[in-house]
Symmetry: C2
Subunit: 237 residues, 2 copies
Amino acid sequence: MTEIKALVHDVFGTVVDWRSAVTADGQALGARKGITGVDWQQFADEWRGAYAPSMNRVRTGELPWTNLDALHRMGLDALIEKFGVTGLDEADKQWFNLTWHRLKPWPDSVPGLTRLKKKYIIATLSNGTVRLLTDMAKHCGLPWDTVLASDLVRHYKPDAEMYQSAIEFLGSGDPGAVMMVAAHNNDLVRAASHGMKTAFVGRPYEHGEKQARDFKAEHDFTYVATSFEDLADKLGA
Amino acid sequence: MTEIKALVHDVFGTVVDWRSAVTADGQALGARKGITGVDWQQFADEWRGAYAPSMNRVRTGELPWTNLDALHRMGLDALIEKFGVTGLDEADKQWFNLTWHRLKPWPDSVPGLTRLKKKYIIATLSNGTVRLLTDMAKHCGLPWDTVLASDLVRHYKPDAEMYQSAIEFLGSGDPGAVMMVAAHNNDLVRAASHGMKTAFVGRPYEHGEKQARDFKAEHDFTYVATSFEDLADKLGA
């Protein structure tokens, strides 16, 4: 088995708890603007729900390359309309759209990644942008060595180009030198199809009480862990 | 004046002292293999001398895209022949070629960049590869938020694509939000031509006693500093 040199990991859901941060920013915005009657957790869930379909419009060629900030903004504008939110000016909308740059890590993410960084290159492999991910790292002290992001290759996972970028840029072309870490079975199945090693980190509360899948590893991944700290234990880091 | 959000910096010569590290690795290799009569500092200087011409072969289309590890290896093989070095096996050559991944920072680089990181996104904009730069950061504790590298865009500075990548990925398209930091006047002149802000950090000893240019800022750059710590002072970081 080739030695693992780099761990690349999914971010939304795997490293950060998007749901509580987006909900909290919505509630803060609502309080500041005197908006009542909006269920901001439902708003957050529907915003996230628009994520995969919006990327699929790019992946299938229906839309030209559109980065995730712009896709998030399209989702936000549609939900402002749907939820009947009024009184937001352009600066408010820009601020709320950047909530995705300010997400907060699960409690084990920073300590676990800090341990893993001593032994491996650690990098994102995320559908976020370079700027979103660097902003997020600075906002919450995530110790990434570098970020691999969708705007670098103008593709979204699960397109092959994303996994191949990790293999080329961090594995020097050897897929077995790179391990994909994610809380989502489908992301890992795609990574494995390119020859990458795989580690499942369970996040059974990503969607709160609405979670419908990814409660556990459903395939024979290289490692299965309950947190980044547990993964560091299993890798001797 | 647009607020500066990101500092992107040249690496070879600006952040790290390639000359002493490559010379030391050559001397160590010579001692280990019983090689005598080779001036390893001269070897290092000629290896570095092959750098710009080899990239120009790619930039002009004479060679297809070839990453910097491969260009360094072509230079190494030619110099082994020229200097009459014998007795190296393939593992020795691979080890020596990776000397460029193990370069050491000038004394002010890590403390200065650590201060600048508190106020700005800090990233490389280097003709090295993503892997070379992440290896270097881990080797010597460079605190980059992310790396922007030639293999991401398959171009070498001073091609426009490199500067544009920093503007797109870290400046959200606004060139004035990104400042190029380098010890080389020509790098900064090119960056300025794309609307980027510029900071000259003097490295009058990059080439030792053979230094022939870049003793000082020759143009009206946004900032002129004597070190990364001096730049942090000037930027109030």
